[in-house]
Assembly symmetry: C2
Homo-oligomer: 323 residues x 2
């Protein structure tokens, strides 16, 4: 079995020689700009881990992992356009640097490139993998649409279950399908794949809660971005949706008022209200709840325990990270 | 053998039950809005004709044809955003009706849906077809990028060969690959596929010349849009690039001056200069030249002549159309 770090190294070695054509230079410079932003590569590594849970890692899994990472980067380029985000991972976004039209096209061409990697997958499993990939891709688009629609609403008008459904589509589904595709390549049966998919789903929700918590309460030095970035941009987070859900009429007014401010004043006021509503404690409890659900499904997968170790370590790392 | 009209009827029957999910309603309403604009369906019919050139039309060809038509519609949605086009086929564009973010996503989800149709293609030929499709998709994106870059240049700075290369990528490649995929499904060999691909390439160029000519010199009543739409929007067309290529210094100044005007005055002045430069005659000659090249490659395809009839009729229709 390989650790996250070992798989990451193997993946990067192959992925980084990703070759785009020379021309049109502007189009492929835009695509490369995104790929050079170096994400955590969680999804492709999940694909490799899903594969290694059932068999030795084969070439097909590396191709699928590359497809998944390209797909993820395609969504980031297009999401940043839709969200009008100036920065990502501390760097200028593709549309800010190259303009929206080229950014749209760079995303498109990256999605096509993702499918080109799938082409190399063994013909006998290709239809199933293509279907799983398409299904997930569609759901991720649906999640982004719901996210945008939620952004236009007042947070008190977003029921928690609808919010969790959106996060499931936007974040969890791709984690799940990464594991699922790896497992399909490894020859896993339906029952194991079902549990692996559910594992990814709950891991994704727990991951998002941790992400939202870090943005609000993490150490800005460690996370490498401004504290309360989500608050400053009025983003609908787990914390905010929950806060409005449990706030009484007076507290809601206070929250509304805090969001009228700007800068650090806004952040501090909202954080104080979150504290008063015990949101950090709630987030910790929820994160634990979803983590336990995830681990329950991992438990249910019928392979020897030692094979599950890298995934358990990954859960531990992702949900206790401070950056 | 089936005529264009017969194949269109068969294709529409299947394609129009294209089902998108109900929710999120706004996302899929946007996708449906595009599909309801009813194009000519040239590309999917070329795929069916490519198939029938070598064999009876099989289910795989209908799936590929649907994928191609969805891909084409995806490019139209995204191109319209990039070009800031308010209308397409006389109707309000997707981004004008639903906003840019939803239009970007509707395009994305349509591209994914295209790949979902490919999933149904027989496993033994799927990798080749996926590769051909991806290749074409990438080239079409490159063509759109070049088109945008050309739009930012003065027409005198666009060499005709670079312009033809752009049109080849943006228009011809998809016609070629539609035929190629149909032929692959029909079991065609490399040599026949090569000639069919070249046929599509030259057909595309001739088609674009006819399109540009119609926009400038066609009967507005028949083409259902304003005469000189391309001139009004300063679009780089075959006619314009050629006009600048052959104009002397004085005529270039006259062209530059004409483009400073607006409305019908602009159209009439530019058209008069086109006439003085014999652009309509040149366009007719070029169209014939590329049509002959296309027909030469059709000739070279080793199947009995009667099988080629629908394609010959299609060439005749496309290049002599008045609307």
């Amino acid at each position: 079995m390989h650790s996250f770090r070992e798989l990451l190294e193997q993946f990067e070695k192959r992925f980084n020689i990703q070759e785009f054509p020379e021309q049109p230079a502007r189009l492929y410079d835009a695509a490369r700009h995104m790929l050079h932003m170096q994400g955590k590569r969680i999804r492709p590594i999940l694909c490799l881990m899903g594969n290694e849970l059932f068999d030795e890692i084969v070439e097909d899994a590396f191709e699928a992992a590359a497809a998944i990472e390209l797909f993820h980067n395609f969504t980031l380029i297009h999401d940043d356009i839709m969200d009008k985000a100036p920065l990502r991972r501390g760097q200028i976004t593709v549309h800010e640097k190259f303009g929206e039209p080229t950014a749209i096209l760079a995303g498109d061409v990256m999605l096509v490139q993702a499918y080109e990697h799938l082409k190399y997958i063994s013909a006998e499993i290709l239809p199933d993998i293509l279907h799983a990939f398409n299904q997930a891709a569609r759901l991720v688009c649906e999640g982004q649409q719901l996210d945008m629609e939620f952004e236009a609403r007042h947070p008190s008008e977003i029921p928690m279950d609808a919010y969790i459904e959106m996060i499931t589509l936007k974040t969890s589904v791709l984690l799940s399908v990464s594991l699922q595709i790896g497992a399909l390549i490894g020859g896993a049966g339906d029952r194991n794949i079902h549990h692996l998919y559910e594992f990814g789903k709950y891991l994704g929700i727990a991951f998002q809660i941790q992400d939202d918590w870090l943005d609000a309460f993490g150490d800005p030095q460690q996370i490498g971005k401004q504290q309360g970035g989500d608050i400053l941009s009025n983003k609908k987070t787990f914390l905010l949706v929950k806060a409005y859900e449990i706030a009484d009429a007076h507290q809601r007014q206070q929250l509304d008022a805090a969001f009228q401010h700007n800068g650090q004043q806004k952040v501090q006021q909202v954080l104080a209200l979150f504290e008063a509503l015990h949101i950090p404690q709630w987030a910790e409890t929820e994160k634990k709840k979803y983590t336990e659900r995830a681990l329950h499904h991992l438990e249910e997968i019928a392979v020897i325990s030692s094979r599950k170790k890298p995934l358990e370590e990954l859960v531990n790392y992702l949900l206790n990270r401070t950056s």
